[in-house]
């Protein structure tokens, strides 16, 4: 059935990584996985339950990762699925992160909670290609010790790049500190903030204050990139739910330059 964007394709769950009781990564088969960019999204489609827009959290030959929180009608059902079962997906949608934008520069990535998912693909790429960057600094925040995602990945990334993990509450350890992500932004050892790039992903409030803190350390707003999310029923710029002013988050985004997106208002 060519041309019909609404017909989903079958995809098999190859592996489920259970980060927390309600946040799992589903590793799914997808033939053309390498053409997908980090933060592009798919509609995860469970006939009878509906569809959920979920961003890609990992890309490998023939495989895509979707890190999903059990939080609604579709995702509640999805958590009944096990390895080997198959479901439907359609996509990819949205612009995704353009890796070329960040190559040869210093890069700061600030992410909170499931906001780590859309940027994980970017971090993974540079972790494997450190020669293509002048330095990567990651600040990731989670609510508490039970909410940490991608723990093994962070341990791996820490070996090649500057990684800071922080929890909202708890006792600090060698692995993580305590406090909001914004607390760590002034201490970033970025050599040339005016020419560096920053990616911010997470809850809207976190994005706002992280961007403010980055601006105070000398980052121009035009060098900050944020990952937006809204209700998206189609992913094609038709259903209207994700429209903000004259912008469709699904089609024009979800990755926006901060200077542009801060002009938008719901």
């Amino acid at each position: 059935m060519p041309n019909n964007d609404y017909i989903p394709v079958r995809s098999t769950i190859q592996e489920i990584i259970r980060h927390t009781p309600h946040e799992w990564t589903f590793r799914m088969t997808y033939d053309d996985a390498l053409s997908v960019k980090p933060s592009q999204f798919f509609e995860i489609s469970l006939p009878k339950y509906g569809e959920s827009p979920i961003s890609v959290s990992g890309i490998a030959p023939g495989l895509l990762d979707f890190t999903i929180r059990k939080i609604g009608h579709v995702t509640n059902e999805l958590f009944n699925y096990t390895e080997g079962e198959s479901l439907y997906i359609r996509g990819p949608y949205g612009n995704g992160f353009d890796l070329e934008q960040y190559k040869g520069k210093e890069l700061v990535i600030v992410a909170g909670g499931t906001g780590v998912s859309p940027v994980r693909g970017v971090i993974e790429y540079f972790a494997d290609h450190m020669e293509e960057t002048r330095g990567v600094h990651v600040i990731a925040g989670f609510r508490d010790v039970n909410e940490i995602l991608f723990r093994a990945d962070f341990a791996k990334w820490r070996k090649v790049m500057d990684v800071t993990m922080t929890l909202d509450t708890g006792e600090p350890t060698e692995e993580y500190g305590i406090g909001l992500v914004t607390k760590y932004i002034p201490d970033l050892k970025v050599e040339d903030p005016a020419n560096a790039e920053a990616i911010v992903a997470g809850p809207p409030v976190m994005i706002k204050f992280a961007a403010k803190a980055l601006a105070e350390t000398g980052f121009p707003e035009t060098h900050m990139w944020v990952d937006e999310s809204r209700k998206m029923c189609c992913g094609l710029g038709k259903c209207g739910h994700c429209r903000v002013n004259d912008t469709y988050i699904c089609k024009d985004g979800p990755v926006f330059n901060y200077a542009t997106v801060k002009q938008l208002s719901d």
């Binding site: 006939p47 009878k48 509906g50 609604g72 995702t75 209700k231 209207g240 739910h241 429209r243 004259d246």
Partner: protein, 339 residues
């Protein structure tokens, strides 16, 4: 090519047409109105030209013919997905000039700037438009100010003329059958209005800062978020996905897309409880600015076509045209406050 035809002749033409097309027009449903003893004018198939209601505006627009309020995208079983069989006959739609301009909006939204929407394109292909001439405007119309009072991209125009009908044909395939009906050939220019009782003016300096105006707060209470304005609007096209399954066999069902309304609760809800525009006044601002500001920024022309249906159907007597006319003062208010 213009014609003056009798009712009998027009009906003969409709009969021929209905062999290859589904002919739909605004028709009176007696007792079908919202209140006891009131009628509803809405779209239905016709076989006789006298069924077409010319002296009243249809409550709902033609849009449901291109975008059904509930449309099946596919049927599913445990291991298969099947598309529905498309309508066999293309549609002939009777509509007024404002609505013909609305078609341009729908085409832009569903087919403009990229890949056309599969289901919209399927229904849109082969559709013919019959322009219903407007001799005078209805009370709430403001097509002249929106620039939608004249249309020339119709296949056929028709309007009553004494006991008969005046038609102008632009479709080469229809000329011969019309000529064969034995009417009089004449130069026919479809009637159109040049002035309306309701006037609107959209301020030149309108921008998003108008969101800060206090005028929107008024609609927090007055609006009841029923969505009638969206559902009656010929250019409101938002939809939501809906899955349903059959009671007798829950493993099979269908996925539909159903009309959505940005005024109704749930439109911007995300899983987990986050939402936008909780206040009804904010929703009003979101809708109004899309119609007369945001859409034009993206597409180059206004979304609103001035049909006035939203004003006709609002149970709270909120007038969209009045809101548009308030935007000038609102801009003044906002810029004064900014100084």
């Amino acid at each position: 090519m213009g014609f003056l035809l009798s009712t009998q002749a027009v009906n003969d033409f409709l009969r021929t047409l209905s062999q290859t097309h589904r002919v739909v027009a605004p028709v009176r449903f007696e007792g079908g109105g919202a209140f006891t003893g009131t009628d509803c004018v809405r779209y239905a198939e016709i076989t006789d030209i006298t069924q077409v209601v010319f002296d009243e505006k249809s409550r709902f627009s033609f849009k449901e013919l291109l975008l059904p309020p509930s449309q099946t995208l596919f049927y599913f079983t445990e291991d298969s997905i099947t598309e529905p069989v498309p309508e066999a006959k293309p549609t002939v739609i009777f509509l007024r000039s404002c609505d013909l301009h609305a078609v341009k909006r729908l085409d832009e939204i569903y087919c403009g700037g990229g890949k056309p929407d599969y289901y919209y394109e399927q229904r849109r292909a082969g559709v013919k438009f019959v322009l219903m001439g407007c001799k005078e405007a209805f009370d709430s119309c403001f097509c002249v100010d929106m620039g939608t009072n004249v249309s020339d991209n119709y296949d056929l125009s028709i309007e009553p003329d004494g006991d008969g009908w005046r038609l102008d044909c632009k479709d080469a395939n229809w000329e011969a059958p019309l000529r064969a009906l034995g009417g009089t050939e004449a130069d026919v220019v479809p009637a159109h209005v040049t002035e309306t009782k309701t006037r609107v003016s959209i301020p030149e300096n309108l921008d998003f800062s108008v969101a800060k105006s206090k005028m929107w707060d008024e609609y927090d209470k007055r609006c009841i978020a029923c969505g009638r304005c969206n559902f009656s609007c010929p250019t409101c096209t938002c939809f939501t996905m809906q899955d349903l399954f059959y009671q007798d066999n829950p493993k099979t069902g269908e996925r539909r897309r159903v009309l959505a309304s940005c005024m109704v609760d749930g439109f911007a809800d995300m899983a987990g409880g986050a939402t936008y525009r909780k206040k009804y006044g904010e929703r009003m601002r979101y809708k109004v600015l899309h119609k007369v500001y945001d859409f034009k920024k993206r597409s180059g022309f206004h979304m609103c076509v001035g049909c006035g249906r939203c004003d006709d159907v609002c149970p709270e007597y909120i007038s969209f045209s009045h809101i548009v006319n308030r935007l000038g003062d609102a801009m003044k208010e906002v810029s004064e406050n900014a100084e």
